[in-house]
Symmetry: D4
Subunit: 250 residues, 8 copies
């Protein structure tokens, strides 16, 4: 809690401007709404500088609809729902106007859009198969007001495809690298740029890929220093980290 804020409050109490019960309320205020199965942050946008997001994967559609309803009461912003499978998306669409992207399994409940930041984030992915994760990152970035620059299918086994983008890469502000299999793309890109590189291992592959473990370990051990890794298939998290990096400049 901010000392200044407490000082002001206490001065208010001292000179009678603020009621004791009000001050108590304020000091121990719970800044969220409680709807039994979920607590909804009313000031997360303020604290973490992002719009509202619901992680859809292990929630029922009833729970999602309940949370959206509650959010809509206090705020008319767009709401992003991640990992929303098709069946749940259909249920949610019956209650709210929503844009849905089948590929990345993301839904955006319509509302006021965030003001554009004017910032580009470059998203490189190694193969066509990594697209769902790449699009999760791209759509999240767009939801957050940034511009997603897509450079897809540039895996290192065909180095010329990547090298033809060297110019763009060397000038990027933030780069998200998405790769499955051996995840080598992160190291190669890391060596071609001085921008922060956010690496997303994907579970694409088979056999000794072990659900993305090969790409994950690869990226953590990158010989290019200055690569930050997020969870396997976590395009959303990569976009959120890019946003934190860019948010600092606003």
């Amino acid at each position: 809690m901010d000392k200044e804020y407490i000082v002001k409050l206490l001065e208010g109490v001292k000179n009678g401007d603020v009621d004791i019960s009000d001050a108590v309320e304020k000091i121990s205020y719970e800044p969220y709404s409680d709807i039994d199965y979920a607590k909804i942050d009313n000031n997360r946008k303020l604290v973490q500088n992002v719009g509202e997001v619901i992680y859809g994967e292990s929630k029922t559609h009833e729970q999602i609809i309940g949370i959206v309803s509650k959010m809509k009461q206090s705020d008319n912003s767009e709401i992003l729902i991640t990992r929303l499978d098709k069946d749940k998306a259909e249920e949610v669409s019956k209650h709210f106007e929503m844009r849905y992207d089948k590929n990345s399994r993301m839904g955006i409940v319509c509302g006021e859009k965030v003001v554009p930041s004017g910032n580009d984030v470059h998203i490189l992915c190694a193969g066509t198969s990594d697209l769902p994760v790449a699009e999760e990152a791209a759509l999240t970035l767009e939801f957050l007001g940034h511009n997603a620059v897509r450079i897809y299918d540039v895996g290192v086994a065909g180095l010329h495809r990547l090298l033809s983008h060297v110019d763009e890469i060397s000038k990027a502000k933030v780069i998200i690298v998405i790769a499955g299999m051996e995840g080598a793309l992160a190291s190669v890109v890391g060596g071609l740029t001085s921008a922060p590189v956010i690496a997303v291992p994907t579970s694409i592959g088979y056999g000794a890929n072990f659900g993305g473990l090969s790409a994950l370990l690869s990226m953590l051990n990158s010989c290019a220093s200055g690569v930050g890794v997020v969870n396997i298939d976590n395009g959303f998290g990569a976009a959120m980290l890019a946003n934190r990096i860019l948010g600092r400049k606003a």
Copy 2:
């Protein structure tokens, strides 16, 4: 390769200003020195915006001394040597003036310092035992010209220790969080700030810590979105990522 640069080169060739053999040389130029067991980048500083660094762990002291000598021929900047154990440090010190930090096992061969960036990076670590890694990050940041703000021993089991720094945390530009055991500090800090959080798992702990695996998985699965993870005990890499993030602002 930059198209503009090639266009200029070709115009020079066309109007006779540039010799064909020179142009060939330039286009296929090898921008490094080769000393048999190592290739030394002569323009890495340019490309990646960092000073010279030698990863000392699995090099012999003869190799390290050879590499430093070669570097000193083209440039008098400070040189950072990481993971340099005490015995090798003594050997290197016989040939070059060097500051050595026993705790983080880092040596800095004296030379011209980098111009200060004026940027703060906050380093939070969970326990006294994480200090060697934290200092590896701090000294690397200082080598790179940034200001390392050390907030140590603020593990989540004594939450009040962390909360007394909430003000600083919420205003930081970039935060490095270093923790072993369960690595929970990254998630808690991630929720208290909108700055980018770089998480470093350490191998501190025993038993089911499995050499840092517990903290690593913990940080990759952080419920706070926007946390980028580097390798276990990799304080150096965290500092390099912080530098990439800040470098963008210069």
Copy 3:
């Protein structure tokens, strides 16, 4: 076997009050019913101080029905069936009156209820997605006669949600903490209370969560001393441990 009991028995044999064949029977008595595919403890309630429980997951509905029937012959208590999926629940319901909770997949075959213990157990869970496990714990506690105090969706990434319950937490007798992803909640809660903390890792999450491994390792490595961990998703086991702790006070 209890020496006193044997002494008495032998004295009975000596003075003719007890028949030799009866004594043999008693000494080597099999205190369970055998129904071919299962042995039903007739005195487990006595020994371990809990009602009857059937682990439903890998039993067929025919087996479950057979076991319940046998139990009902000797005792009319309520019977708890865990991990009972919907299809099996329907089959069982055809034979016995049963309350069924879809979320936690638990059924309770009606019968005499346990006498309430008057004890509270606090259940904290990190996210809405952890609810099925949390409810498994809560319903088991209620089945055992305790009072389950539910504090849900208080994950550490939004620390204020947790901190608004500090009072309750610091006064609790026993606390069950349920969390997936990085499982940090156990450590934070462990530092806020002197009550025993029972930690339940959940398989909620994806990628490097590895089916709950991240939360499991996290909790085992908790920097808060005095946290006991049960198996992944094992809400039932957590409740049973809480019962053992409270049972001692009765």
Copy 4:
């Protein structure tokens, strides 16, 4: 923070009894001493109901001596230092009177003892090789004022050794079970008692023991419900959990 406490403080402010700067101080009070590389909790004893403990493993002897000195300034209680190897113990002994147990690598800096609790905790271990961990638990319990009842070398391969203690086991308040190899002792004991069982896997064994993993997984999967597991070789943690359980009764 406690509402009542805040109300009182604010009433003091209102009627002038409490200075605003004092109130600010109190509300945002940092309840620890900061000695650069460590923050020492001045009121942990109060909050968590235990004496002072220092985790010695990855601290230098200089750091340990510094922390003990600081602690001694505010309080003359005994101080427990865990995982203190012989060399460090000798250094610490030069500055403070200390009892040292080589087997469990624990030191106790002399001071006022805790008042005995009158409670027994039973410690069962499977083999002679588990003794160091068992003694870590036993000495910690004694440091905390409890009575450690040692029942050693009762592994399940010689069941009669265990069964001859059935009486004691069935009457215990809290049981700590320590076993390496296959860790089966926890399950067997769990079935013989209704007391809470705290299981400590040890790294005793070889080959597919994988540093204690076999016993750890075994105990987490115990078929006896109500077993809480702590980290591998963590005798200290087991004692702390026992203390939390017993502390509730005080």
Copy 5:
């Protein structure tokens, strides 16, 4: 190849009784039938002393039917098909008379039965859930002519259930112990008998069971010396090892 056999053959060649081409044929004889996708051992029964067995899991029903047909041409013995799911069983039944056990997924194509060996093998399993594996072992033993003595649901958490069978256990010739979860039964039984113990870990359990890994490691680390472990869920393999042990006595 047996020297004696070669000597005889060569003597035959020398004295003209055996044709050179015949001898070549015999020496390099391929003792199996080749049906394109499978090679069927015509003398495995001879060499390894068991009837014909087909591992059904990853074969198509067409392949299984083809193999059975080929076998039937040279021999009318019963044929055991393991891991045969219901759909394939139906297909096979259209071509051959077959007894099918749904629980263990085993089919026996009718034919001449093996002569009974008169030997008992005791099969102990820990819980009702382990039945499919236990029955795989039992039916295989019966197919091989032995007598399977089933002692089911005697897990160590209810030790009295096991102890009531101590007599039988201590007199058994060969014991197969089948258990999931923590697999402790193998160690306990190993201590109660001097017979060879064959341990079968099962994948029964959840969470940190990791598909049978917990029981597998447990059994490999058994503190009772002289326990031989087979693969997870491999009831068939356990029966085959029992047969090898008994076969020696015939």
Copy 6:
């Protein structure tokens, strides 16, 4: 980039034969077609000496059809599609003439065939269950113009089946060994030949096979030196490596 090529280009520029913009184009030429979700190498055949291949597993049928269409524009060669499940195969067949092998899930879009190489590659597999992987290798080899010699079901448990092929094995040019379970075939074959052995672990097996891990580790640790391992179930990759080995001889 080839220096000679650049010299020629620059000479052209100097004497006006080549336009500057053309030269720029050529130097930074992107040798692939971009169809939004995929970049198609127009000269991979040239560089890597193989026909066109599409990895079908994680592409939608729409994407596959799009890629094939684009390829067909520049070249009428056969196109191999791997890991193409039946449903996608049906969709693709609506647009192009295609041969499909259900067993190995491979489709070959008709076109000009590769000129036969006249080379044999021997494929040995351990069991009938390994056939899908073996056929993936065989069909890929045939697609590449080689002759696949199939020696199937020669697992080491029936050594005579393998030994009857010793002649062929000892004379082979390249051998692909495919085995699941314990993967021992690679070591045995490696000892019987001086040809390069390419080992393919398969995921055939259960329990402690862990999805092919047992065979993978086995093959990597082969006591026969000179065995190269590819990914689990990667028959395609094995064929590609065989092709590289043979390609050198063309």
Copy 7:
């Protein structure tokens, strides 16, 4: 407990031949000596049919000497001490006459020898490096009165070395197969004999051997049915299992 024994005891009590206190003593008799840090079985030899064995690895030499002394009080048999390193062996030798084998780290305290069983056990090992484990098995067998037939360095990469022993192998009663690296020897031998095969994986190897894991998984997944596996490097356990198998015939 044996019913017959109890019946007799009770009859004794009834007719006054047996004192009640004696009967109590006998029924609840603790058949071991307790020397504080160890409980020594006085009748294990009886129950499990083996001589006395001490697992030396994690015991201090003081503990070992104490245990041997206690054993010697009741029995003058030879005592086997396993995993006894050289330093401890020297200490023990000061107190007792002992034969020590440096290679297998086993000591045998002199005493009465076991009566020879007349049984052969064949020990096959794959390489010279596996000798320490092979000798642990061989010496244990000899200690137990059996005859160890050593067939060493017959790894599958040189199949002819193994095949020259086919005769012996096919006639063996029990076979112990010891192999590191890929452990293929167990499968090959399993196919050449109908005797029970006990497989011992060793930690010989490097890299992806992972401390014996490769051989362990290999042996568990053996395609030859009827192979029982013991822990990594556990030559002692293999000999004990062989003894159980042979013991049955005595």
Copy 8:
């Protein structure tokens, strides 16, 4: 066994040219010398086309000296001893003239050299730290008569260092790629050449490198098809596979 050879032998027997006992001898001939702890192949050179090699790691120097002595009796070729640490090397040098390379821990006992093959094998390694493994490969190749072309320190983070060798790489016959950390070099090189690529993961790195696992998984999952992987740090094995590939061309 070769049919032709048997035919000839039998014809000899028939017409009396060959003695029966000689023929028996020949058919069942053991083509190795047995020196108790090792069996030495007298015709391995013939069968596998390589000189004599001794794997030194887990042999005592006495064993190594014994094996060399035996080999020298039948053949005066050079003998390669791998993984020979300095102390053993000194002992061996007392008995035989030997060249020793400290870096790769290899010794070559002097003798007749192999005839040069005239073939180049390119060895690329990622960093200076990979040198010991690279030299193990290079010296083995030279021992086998090939020419090792060393291209060291060309890791992908500084792509220009690698690209300056593109010409050489694209023309190589066989390429060995050696890399630790994320092992990305194999994929990049695989895409630049049509030669067979042998990938050697090294254990260089720390933290989530897990002893070479990261590079191993990376290389197995290479997006460049046609890469064969050998064990971690197995430079020797890579050279042996290269030899097999080249040997075929001789």
